[in-house]
Each structure stands twice: as structure tokens, then as C-alpha cells.
């Protein structure tokens, strides 16, 4: 089923009673009634009952195939359709994908509004003047008879000047339409698609092991990558591999397993104590470490059947039996070896371990589980089959899973594994023998960054089981809203008086390069939050392992299980809530004073908070102070939090900091977070595709995030920002020449240029170079981006797209336009244009001015670019050259089409030194203000990237 994204096998079974219906004929007489819940979006629960022959049979998710499921291991099934179409759980779950836009684009919209305002203002100014002038046309002493004001149409009628002014307003809106860069949107789309291609094609973000390149699933957010301020990361599968390895176990109070974990190694690295001494040892392990996936356990006392000689050999036997039987994995037998398909990697690791140690689970039927196992009495391997009576499934509320089996000796056994806290509560008096030692081991394991589970069992009597089973079946078949609770309660009745066997320690391995990557990101000034469902200790350990927490950091821990609160447990609920709220508020306040008192010193803080406290901290009264505290801390770890809280935290961080947030995760439980954050990055890892499907970028491993943000993010941000600024510049530079000309033509909305020049401006002469800027420009190479992560600060501070910068570029455009207009008119007008005495009319002024504009805006771009490949050269100089080509070709069109451009270039311009000299001068003059500004800035007030660029030149 590819619904929650997890592609691993889910076991689905028909009811016992219907399993005999195996062909079409058998359905002829089959009559049953199904009662079930209303359509809802809960994927993992289903409440229903089948009435057949007067008996009620409970229906559970086990019997339900969800829409879009795929059959594996089975050719076909018979079934009945319960919900269709929009009633199905999958459709009920479908959420409108959020539409995400980048900061830069949102600000771009504002600039467009600004340009609209400029447009309207210019048009209004023109209209007002035009209205006044038109009214004055009839007056004595200013009677422009050559315009025939007495016989003019409504557009120019002096007697109805107001109406004429309004018509003029509409005309000018069209004339200055080029101020609104419609082509900007198209250009940006094209540029972003190409940028995404670069991200997709980057070999350095390709993962050999999983054969997955990086994928930009949306091209909207490329530049946002360069502005990321906070990263919210899932832990399992994102920082860690989600391939569990069985490393240690504690059986009967004895600790086994001598492998070392990543966290321990990194711990040692931190302390730098005897690290080199230890190294040969650990590398020795690496020799056969990879032999079996999920198994990293080495202990001669247990391996190769040696466990028989251990003092508690029966406990050991029972321990591994639990591991081999209490699970939902399915064996896949290939020739002689057995591998397992499990719902969670932990289970696979358990079953694999059991197999490696001689308890080989090889067959599962509806009713039984078969093992190859060593018989203590006979002293050799035998096949044992356990009749499977009930499976009490794992849920996050129960935090445990049990099976009830009947052995070949007709013994009734309940095997249980689950979170240590839960199991310890349910031990019988006799079962607590190893409790102290086991607790101690569990603490050690979780300090070493291992996931721990306690393992226990109990024997049942026939009578006890029979009574319980009836109760349980009744609970299961009840149809009401509390169904889950009733089943859980029923299950709880049998899961008691357990006998503790031991505990397991499974390592969740860190992904390759995670600590280095996190280091770099931290250097870049990016805040990293870990949001995980794991235990506080485990989360802290992973935090140390991946360098998010460092020895020199001060840890602020906010949690609920402090003595004051446990005392309150019996009070009424409101009082407890109040007290807890108070308590959390106090903790936050204390922490805040700590942080503020050490401001200025180099101490950095890490905030660690658990899910329960978080629920209070995020309640309306405290959220602001909590977030302020969190923002002041260098790293934040939230543990024990639910998927919904993940999304909530993300939303609050986004809203509070008003900076760009990036969420990264790999599982279905991260989807909310990925969709809520400004950028969602999905890891296309083990846990299926769900996260990737709802992400904006997909990468194969966490470490690629470094390159994605620091290299591609940096480039894309700079490119897009520069491109937009430049676009406004070039359109203003063009638009204002029109304005100045109109102002000298009695504001009659007469364009300075031939109509086709105007139409082609954005299309032909200036569009491609700006795309080259958007696609190819690089201020520094990727190596330098990675070497100086603090370049990323440019993006966080948004210095390339700040209002001063945008307005600066606009001003530059207006200056350029003014220089071009006034210098051109002064240079070429009135006197003879050529040595033959002919003068320049409006057509020559237009052509000359336009030449200057094309040159100036393209050279301006060349000045801005810091990276010239042949593509840039081709596009920039090609665009300028194309203008001349266009002028020649257009000039050859018949005069009725080309009107004022008819042969204007070949006949008048080419042979006029004045034309060439004035365009040379005006272009240089138009560029000088920017060039001088740039020079002064880089010489006297260099920005960070300037100095890095220069440092690089100094090196090479």
C-alpha cells in the first residue's frame, strides 16, 4: 500500500470464518451483514462488525484493504467494498497541498505594486499637464493653429479638456505599460526551472548507495534555500539511517554485546581520550560489521550456540523466543536463507538477531509461527510450531506489543515487549528479580544512544485465558467511538504479572556525514531544531553524536517530571494544569534570565524540552516567551513530541521569527511539518515516499542539505534577487526615457520610439542576458561557498533583496534614463546631424536613444555579472548586436510598416560620426554612476562576499 508512503509489507488477513470462501461458487449462498463506522480519516483504525449466521465477528484494520493497496505474496482476493470514492480513508486524508511562495517573490509582488503606483502617478502627472495644456490651446497668444484645436476629436478637444485628460490617462497607461515587467514572471519561471535542473543534475548530491539524485520537486522555492534561518529536523531516518542494528542486550541481569555505537565514538572524539588506542579495535569490528544487516552484536558468550552454557540459559532461551515470536514480520524464504519483511526496522533487527543466535523464524501462517530452534533437552535443532492465539498490537498509546501463543507442550504463554517504563509497571512480584540490573543497563544503553525495549513474558492458565478471550472478543466487536480504548483496556487485563527477561539495545545509526554537515550549517548561522518522538535521553545522545550539542554548551532542560509536579498528581485537573503552567513559566523565566545574563560572552545554550512541557509551553500564555528563549538558544531539541506538535512548532517558529524555516524529514509523521514550513525537504530514505511526496525538495541523505543550502541556495538566492532588481532597473531605464520625451511633447503621449522598438524591448534585446544572470551567475565557486559558510548570512539578512537595494536599483534606472534622454537630445539635436547638413528628426532621436538604452542596460548587466562564460558573452553582446541587425532588417520593410524606422540605420546613422560618438559617450556616462558607486563600495565599504571574492583572487 502506497498510502502512508511506507512500502513495506502490511499483513492483511481475512476472518477465520470467511477463509473457507475460496471460489466463486462458495459465495452463492454467503449472506452476511456488515455494520461499521462512518467514513473517517483514521488510517490505522477501523471499527466494524460482520453478522453472519447470527454471530457477530469483529472487523479490524487487519481485514481492511485500503484504497490503492497492492497485493504482494497473493494472486487475488475476494472482498466486499465498504467505502468508495470520497468516502475512502485515503480520500478523507487528502489534504490540499499548501501553496508555497518564496519571500523574494512575495516582496516582488510588493515591488510590482510600487511600479503600478509609479505608472499611475506618471500617467496622472501627464494627464494633468495635458489637460491644462489642452485647455490653454484655444487661449489668446498660445493658439496652436497647426493642431486645429477648433476641429479636434474628443481626445484633444480643448473645450472638453477634462475628458481629453482622462482619455490621455488611458493612453499613457498603455504607453508606460512597459514599466510593469510582465515578462519578468515568465523569465523567472524559466530561470527557476533551469535552476532546478542544476539541482537535479548535481552529481555531488547524488547518493550512490540508494541510486537517488537530489530532486527539486517545485521550482518555486529555489531562492528561499539561500535564506534559511531555522532548520527543523526529524531525527529517525533523517539524522539517523533508520536501519536499526541490534547492538546490546541485557538478559537476566547480565549485559551482553561489545560493539560500540556512533554516539560513544563521538563522545570519545569529544573528549579525545585514548581515541587512537581504541581505533584499531573498532575498525576490527568493521571487518564483519556489514555481514548481516540489522545485526551488530558480538558476544562470544551468546554466539555460535554458546548461550547454552550461560547460567540463565532458560531465560536466554525465553528471551530470544520472545524476539523470534512477538512481532508482525513476515519471513521471505529464498533458497536456504531467510530474510524478513517487517513493519518497523526494529522488528527486523530483532528477528534477524534471533535468527543469528539460533532461533530461526521461518514460517508464519494465519494461526501459527514456526521456528528452527535449539532444544535444550534434546541438544539439537528442531522445528517448533507455536499456535498463535492473539496479537495485541503495538500502538503509540500502549507502547508495547504482546502475543499469546500455545506451545507444542500445550502451555499458554504471553510474550510481551515494550517501552521499559510500561513493562516495569506490569511486572509480577516474582518477575522483578532482574529489575534493578536491567534498569541500570537500560540507562546505560540509552546514554549510549540506543533505543531500548524491555522484554517480558508470563504463563497463562487455560481458565484465565478463556475468560479473558471472551471479554477481548466482545471488546473487539463493539461498535462505538471508544472502541480503541475498550480494546486497549481489555488487552491490559491480560498484560499483567509479567516476568522480566531483559532488555534490548538497538542502535539507530547516524547517517554518513551528519555531524560535519551540522557543524557547517551551524557555522553558517543556521539554527537547528531537532523534533523527535524519542526519549529525552536518546535525543540528547543523538544531539551529542551529531555535534548539535557540545560539551561547552549550557543545556537548559525543561521537563515535567519534577518532584513538585508528581506530588500534585492527585489534585483536581484544573489545579494541576494551573500548577504545571506555573512551573513551566518559571522554568522558562529562569532560563531566560540565564541566557540574558550571559549575553555577550561566548557561552551558547541548548534548549531541551519534552513533548508534555511543550504542550504547555506552546499554550497561548507562554508561547511568546518560550519562542524568544528558543530563538536565543543555538540548538533546540524537542523530544517525545507528536507529528501534530511538530507541525505546530514549525508554524509558531515561522510566525514568530518571520524568517525562513526549513523542515526536513523522511516519514509520514513529518508530512505536517514539511507542509507547514517554508521549505519542506524530504529524505528519500527507508521510510517510503510519503515525506518526499509532500516535500519541495527531496534529497537522499541529510548531508546533502549542506550543499543544497550553502551552494545552490546561495547561488539561487543571489541570482533571483539580482535578476529581479535588474529587471526593474531595465524597465525603469526604458520607461523613463519615454516619460522625458513625452514631457517635451506637451504630454501628448507621443512615444519616443517606433512602436516595434517598444514591443521588442523586453522580448528581444534585454530578455536573454537577464536570464543568463538568473541561471548562470556565480559570485563564488561552490568550494568557496562550502569553505565560508557564513556567506549564507547574506541570505538570512536578505541583503541582496533589501528595500534599499531594490530602490537603489530603481533609482539607478531613473538616473540612467535621465542621462540618456538629456544627453542625447543635447548632443544630436538642432544642429546638423551629418556633414551633409541634414538634421535629426524624431526618428533619429528615437533610434539613437534606443541604441543607448540597449547598450546601457546590457553593459550594466555585464558590469554586474561576476561570472562570464561563453554563454553570458554570447547573450549580452549578441543582444546588442541583434539590435543593429533588427534595425537593418526592419528598415527594409516597406515604409507603411516600418514608418519612422524606414532605412533609418543604413541611410542616416551608419555614416554619421555623431551617432557613434554620442552613443559611446552616453553609454559610458549612463554607466558611470553605478560603476563609481560599486567602486567606492568595494574599496571602502566592502561587503562580506566582496572580500571573499577578492581573497580568492589573492590566493590563486
Amino acid at each position: 500500500m502506497n498510502l502512508d508512503g511506507e512500502t513495506n509489507l502490511k499483513r492483511k488477513q481475512s476472518l477465520q470464518i470467511t477463509s473457507s470462501l475460496t471460489n466463486d461458487q462458495s459465495f452463492q449462498k454467503f449472506k452476511a451483514l456488515i455494520k461499521c463506522e462512518d467514513p473517517n480519516d483514521k488510517l490505522y483504525s477501523f471499527i466494524g462488525t460482520m453478522y453472519f449466521n447470527g454471530v457477530q465477528y469483529p472487523l479490524s484494520p487487519q481485514q481492511i484493504l485500503l484504497r490503492d493497496s497492492k497485493l504482494r505474496n497473493t494472486q487475488y482476493v475476494y472482498g466486499i467494498v465498504i467505502f468508495t470514492g470520497h468516502d475512502t480513508k485515503v480520500m478523507q486524508n487528502a489534504m490540499d497541498p499548501p501553496s508555497k511562495r518564496s519571500n523574494v517573490e512575495r516582496r516582488m509582488d510588493k515591488i510590482i505594486y510600487l511600479l503600478f503606483t509609479i505608472l499611475v502617478v506618471i500617467a496622472s502627472i501627464g494627464s494633468i499637464f495635458f489637460g491644462i495644456k489642452t485647455k490653454g490651446e484655444m487661449s489668446e497668444g498660445n493658439y496652436m493653429w497647426y493642431l486645429r484645436p477648433d476641429k479636434s476629436s474628443i481626445f484633444f478637444d480643448p473645450r472638453r479638456a477634462g475628458l481629453a485628460a482622462f482619455c490621455h490617462f488611458l493612453t499613457s497607461l498603455m504607453l508606460y505599460g512597459c514599466l510593469i515587467p510582465i515578462s519578468l514572471y515568465i523569465s523567472i519561471e524559466i530561470v527557476k526551472v533551469l535552476q532546478s535542473t542544476f539541482i537535479n543534475q548535481d552529481q555531488k548530491m547524488y547518493c550512490e548507495e540508494s541510486d537517488k539524485p537530489a530532486r527539486a520537486r517545485t521550482s518555486n522555492l529555489n531562492e528561499e534555500l539561500g535564506q534559511v534561518h531555522t532548520i527543523l529536523s526529524d531525527k529517525t531516518g533523517t539524522l539517523t539511517c533508520n536501519s536499526m542494528e541490534f547492538v546490546k542486550c541485557s538478559i537476566g541481569g547480565v549485559a551482553y554485546g561489545s560493539g560500540s555505537t556512533e554516539a560513544e565514538k563521538s563522545y570519545r572524539k569529544d573528549k579525545e581520550i585514548n581515541y587512537f588506542e581504541l581505533k584499531p579495535l573498532s575498525s576490527g569490528f568493521n571487518g564483519y560489521e556489514r555481514l548481516v544487516k540489522g545485526f551488530n552484536f558480538y558476544d562470544d558468550r551468546l554466539m555460535n550456540g554458546q548461550w547454552v552454557k550461560e547460567p540463565h540459559s532458560e531465560t536466554v532461551q525465553m528471551f530470544f523466543r520472545v524476539l523470534a515470536i512477538c512481532h508482525t514480520a513476515i519471513p521471505v524464504v529464498e533458497s536456504k536463507s531467510v530474510s524478513y519483511e517487517a513493519e518497523s526496522p526494529d522488528e527486523a533487527a530483532f528477528v534477524t538477531t534471533a535468527r543469528e543466535l539460533g532461533f530461526e523464524f521461518f514460517q508464519r501462517t494465519q494461526m501459527s509461527i514456526s521456528l528452527h530452534e535449539f532444544d535444550l533437552k534434546i541438544g539439537r535443532k528442531v522445528i517448533r510450531t507455536y499456535k498463535l492465539l492473539n496479537i495485541l498490537e503495538f500502538s503509540s498509546a500502549r507502547k508495547r506489543m504482546s502475543v499469546i501463543v500455545r506451545t507444542e507442550e500445550d502451555e499458554l504463554l504471553l510474550f510481551c515487549k515494550g517501552a521499559d517504563g510500561v513493562i516495569f509497571e506490569k511486572l509480577s512480584k516474582d518477575g522483578q528479580v532482574f529489575e534493578a540490573e536491567t534498569k541500570c543497563h537500560i540507562n546505560e544503553y540509552s546514554e549510549a544512544g540506543l533505543r531500548t525495549l524491555a522484554v517480558a513474558y508470563r504463563k497463562l492458565t487455560e481458565e484465565e485465558y478463556r475468560i479473558w478471550n471472551e471479554e477481548f472478543l466482545a471488546a473487539k466487536s463493539s461498535v462505538n467511538a471508544d472502541h480503541d480504548m475498550i480494546v486497549d483496556e481489555a488487552a491490559e487485563k491480560i498484560e499483567k504479572d509479567l516476568i522480566l527477561l531483559g532488555a534490548t539495545g538497538v542502535e539507530d545509526r547516524l547517517q554518513k556525514g551528519v555531524p560535519e554537515c551540522i557543524n557547517k550549517l551551524a557555522e553558517a548561522g543556521i539554527k537547528i531544531w531537532i523534533l523527535t518522538g524519542d526519549k529525552l535521553e536518546t535525543a540528547v545522545n543523538i544531539g551529542f553524536a551529531c555535534h548539535l550539542l557540545r560539551k561547552e554548551m549550557k543545556n537548559i532542560v525543561i521537563k515535567l517530571d519534577t518532584p513538585e509536579i508528581s506530588v500534585l498528581k492527585d489534585g483536581d485537573k484544573e489545579a494541576i494544569k494551573m500548577a504545571i503552567n506555573e512551573r513551566i513559566a518559571n522554568q522558562i523565566r529562569e532560563a531566560q534570565s540565564q541566557v540574558s545574563s550571559s549575553k555577550g560572552s561566548s557561552v551558547s545554550f541548548a534548549l531541551i524540552i519534552d513533548g508534555n512541557s511543550l504542550a504547555y509551553a506552546l499554550s497561548s500564555g507562554l508561547e511568546n516567551s518560550f519562542l524568544d528563549l528558543a530563538v536565543d538558544c543555538a540548538s533546540v531539541i524537542c523530544c517525545r513530541i507528536s507529528p501534530k506538535q511538530k507541525a505546530l512548532v514549525t508554524r509558531l517558529v515561522k510566525r514568530r521569527t518571520r524568517k525562513t524555516t526549513l523542515a526536513i524529514g523522511d516519514g509520514a509523521n513529518d508530512v505536517g511539518m514539511l507542509q507547514e514550513a517554508d521549505i519542506g525537504v524530504g529524505i528519500s530514505g527507508v521510510e517510503g515516499m510519503q515525506a518526499v511526496m509532500s516535500s519541495d525538495f527531496a534529497i537522499a541523505q541529510f548531508r546533502f542539505l549542506e550543499r543544497l543550502l550553502l551552494v545552490h541556495g546561495h547561488w539561487c538566492y543571489r541570482r533571483i534577487a539580482a535578476m529581479i532588481c535588474y529587471f526593474f532597473y531595465k524597465n525603469l531605464a526604458f520607461g523613463f526615457t519615454l516619460f522625458w520625451f513625452e514631457a517635451h511633447a506637451l504630454f501628448s503621449a507621443q512615444p519616443a520610439y517606433n512602436d516595434w522598438y517598444i514591443s521588442f524591448y523586453n522580448v528581444a534585446f534585454t530578455s536573454l542576458p537577464v536570464m543568463a544572470l538568473g541561471v548562470f551567475d556565480k559570485d563564488v565557486s561552490s568550494a568557496i561557498c562550502l569553505k565560508f559558510p557564513s556567506l549564507h548570512q547574506d541570505g538570512i539578512r536578505n541583503i541582496f533583496f533589501s528595500w534599499p537595494r531594490i530602490l537603489g536599483w530603481m533609482l539607478n534606472g531613473i538616473i540612467t534614463a535621465t542621462i540618456i534622454y538629456y544627453f542625447t537630445t543635447n548632443a544630436i539635436l538642432d544642429q546638423a546631424f551629418r556633414s551633409d547638413g541634414r538634421v535629426a528628426g524624431s526618428e533619429l532621436l528615437g533610434a539613437t536613444m534606443y541604441t543607448c538604452v540597449v547598450w546601457a542596460v546590457n553593459c550594466q548587466l555585464a558590469l554586474y555579472l561576476s561570472y562570464f562564460t561563453w554563454i553570458q558573452h554570447l547573450l549580452i553582446w549578441g543582444s546588442i548586436f541583434f539590435w543593429y541587425i533588427f534595425l537593418v532588417i526592419y528598415g527594409f520593410f516597406p515604409p507603411t510598416i516600418s514608418t519612422t524606422a524606414y532605412r533609418v540605420f543604413l541611410e542616416a546613422c551608419v555614416s554619421s560620426p555623431l551617432y557613434w560618438l554620442s552613443s559611446l559617450f552616453i553609454v559610458v556616462a549612463a554607466l558611470l554612476p553605478y560603476f563609481s558607486y560599486l567602486t567606492f563600495q568595494t574599496m571602502f565599504f566592502p561587503k562580506y562576499h566582496h572580500s571573499i571574492q577578492r581573497a580568492k583572487t589573492g590566493d590563486s
Partner: protein, 352 residues
């Protein structure tokens, strides 16, 4: 300038081919997709800045000097006559004078040639405050009608001067043609008349392709209100050079148009007598009329603007270059030293 060619070309060949064999999703290597195209990365180093400014200065100053001298060599003689050519007693009501067809419009002006003027001497009329660039004016013409006889009735764009009161098409139609300039000049020096050559004053392309040789003026200036000059109905439009020159509308309200050429040299201090037929009405809108005699040089007419501008910018650039050199000598900065930066003072906590 630092140009660096990518040097990692061959190194990925081996992995590439093996990747292809496995049919993996590994992105193919190319310098383009890996953004490693050889490139030059210009940087504003002091060297480049100084040499750019110096180069601009070095190029601009000679150009400026050359254009200035060319412009200075041009001899220009400007005479404003619109005010003086109204008889003394009529000056209170110039409009009445110009609109009365009975008054004598002839006016004689004496001009002194300031310097020797060698032929050809261009004769211009210059109008002021005359908006030939007004949209209503510019649009009021019909290129089709001007081009071919068959399009005679294409006068829609010419309103309000498209047709006569009887609905007959006016050729050439439109406000531009209707308001054709009609002052005339005749020159004499030392009581010998100077011929003004009025051939070849329009652009060749206009004569050949825009104005038809089979299109003759028709119903022109026959309406109730006479605008400017009338045309000889027996000469095709392509030969009516005054009209063609006038129909190339000027860009700004002050403009010169070529009237003709005097093809003899004029000596310095020579007195020229100009007899002006002062017909054209600029009085109603307060425009000025000037007569301009000018020689030309390779750069065209007399205009010091470009030369002065070149010199100014060139000088400024040289000055800046010099300033930067001095600055660089006395206060050299360590390139790429990040500690100089305002940015680094409040950098976020982490450092290596």
C-alpha cells in the same frame, strides 16, 4: 582579471561510463550541468578600477578635443527675424498683420558673415515652441496616400485635414502637410544674388520610397482655412523636397529644418542681404523664427555639447584614477581581510 579554465575535465570519464552501464540515475557529467563551464570572473580590484578610469580618461579626452575642434570650426550665423519683420506700426497686433493677406510681408535683413564660410553653406529655418512632436500632429498623415496614387482616398488618419468640405480627398492630407512652412528667403551679397540650391535637401529614401512620383497635390489648401504653403499641383510629391523635409517631424519643439544650400564661399565680414517673405504664423502661439546659415564639419553642425561632455567625463575619470592611485599608495588595504568588515562585528556566534 582572472580567467580560470575548468581543469576537471577528463577525471570523471571512467565513473561516467560505468554509471551508464549500470543504468543508474546518476546525473551525467557535463561542465554545463555541473556549472563548471570555464569562465572569467572579473573583479573590481584596485588595479582594474584604476585602469578602467584611466582608460576612459585616455580615450575620452582626445575624442573630446577632436569633436570640440570640429565643432569650433563650424561657422554658424543665426538671425531671429519674427519680431523685427513686423512693421513698426503693426507690432501691437502681430496676429492681425500675419493673418491679413493684404499686408506686405516682405522683409529685408542684413547679415554680417563673422568668419569665412566655405561652401556648401547650409540654410536652415529654425522654429521655436512649435510642437511637431505632438501626438495629434504626428499621427495626422497618411503614408499610403503619399506613396501611391491608388490610395488617394486613404485619409482616415488625416483628420481634421483629410477631406475638403465637399468630401474630396486632400493630397497630401493631414495636419503636417497642411501646416507646411511657407517663409521664403532670397540671398544676395554685394548686390549679386546668391543661388540657393533646394535640391537634395530631403533624405533619399523618402524621395524614392515614401513619396510617390505619380502622386500630385490635389485639393491642397483649398479649404476654408489656409494653413501654410500651397504646393505646385504639377510637380509630383517625390520632387517637393520642402514638403518631404517638413514631413519628417522634429523631435522637440525647437528644431531646424534644411531650407537649401548656398554653394559659394562667403568671406568674413561680408554683408549678405536676405529678403524674407514672412508668411508663416508663429505669432498666434508665441513661437520664434530664425534663419540659420551654417557650414558643417565631419561631426555635423556647431554643437559644443558633445566635445565638452567628453572632456568633462574624461577629465573626471582621470582625476578619479589619480585619486585611487594616491589612495592605494598611501593607504593600501589588505585584500580580503574579513576583519575590516562591518559584517563581521556582529556575526552570529560561530567561528572556526
Amino acid at each position: 582579471m582572472n580567467s580560470k579554465a575548468g581543469s576537471t575535465f577528463g577525471s570523471d570519464g571512467a565513473t561516467d561510463s560505468s554509471a551508464a552501464r549500470r543504468n543508474s540515475k546518476k546525473p551525467k557529467y557535463s561542465k554545463f550541468t555541473q556549472q563548471e563551464l570555464p569562465a572569467c570572473k572579473p573583479l573590481l580590484t584596485p588595479g582594474i578600477v584604476i585602469s578602467t578610469f584611466a582608460l576612459i580618461g585616455i580615450i575620452f579626452i582626445p575624442i573630446g578635443l577632436a569633436s570640440l575642434s570640429a565643432s569650433e570650426h563650424v561657422v554658424e550665423l543665426v538671425d531671429r527675424y519674427d519680431a523685427d519683420c513686423v512693421p513698426q506700426h503693426l507690432r501691437d497686433d502681430k496676429l492681425a498683420f500675419i493673418q491679413n493677406s493684404q499686408t506686405n510681408k516682405t522683409c529685408t535683413r542684413r547679415l554680417i558673415v563673422p568668419k569665412q564660410m566655405s561652401s556648401p553653406i547650409q540654410v536652415y529655418y529654425q522654429l521655436d515652441n512649435f510642437y511637431q512632436n505632438h501626438r495629434r500632429y504626428v499621427k495626422s498623415r497618411s503614408d499610403k496616400q503619399l506613396k501611391s496614387k491608388s490610395s488617394e482616398r486613404e485619409t482616415k488618419t488625416c483628420e481634421p485635414e483629410g477631406t475638403t468640405g465637399d468630401g474630396l480627398a486632400i493630397v497630401p492630407c493631414g495636419l503636417i502637410a497642411w501646416s507646411l512652412f511657407n517663409d521664403t528667403y532670397s540671398f544676395s551679397a554685394n548686390s549679386k544674388s546668391l543661388q540657393v540650391n533646394k535640391k537634395d535637401i530631403a533624405w533619399q529614401s523618402d524621395k524614392k520610397h515614401k513619396f510617390g512620383s505619380d502622386v500630385y497635390p490635389k485639393n491642397f489648401q483649398s479649404g476654408g482655412l489656409i494653413g501654410g504653403a500651397s504646393l505646385n499641383a504639377s510637380i509630383p510629391l517625390s520632387e517637393q523636397e520642402d514638403l518631404i523635409v517638413w514631413m519628417r517631424t522634429a523631435a522637440l519643439p525647437t528644431f531646424r529644418k534644411l531650407y537649401g544650400r548656398i554653394e559659394v564661399d562667403l568671406e568674413a565680414n561680408e554683408e549678405i542681404t536676405v529678403v524674407i517673405q514672412n508668411n508663416y504664423n508663429t505669432y498666434s502661439f508665441g513661437g520664434k523664427k530664425k534663419l540659420v546659415l551654417s557650414t558643417t564639419s565631419w561631426i555635423g553642425g556647431k554643437n559644443n555639447f558633445l566635445g565638452v561632455a567628453y572632456l568633462t567625463v574624461g577629465g573626471l575619470c582621470l582625476f578619479l584614477a589619480m585619486g585611487f592611485i594616491l589612495l592605494y599608495v598611501f593607504k593600501p588595504r589588505t585584500l580580503g581581510d574579513p576583519s575590516y568588515l562591518s559584517w563581521n562585528r556582529n556575526a552570529a556566534g560561530y567561528s572556526n
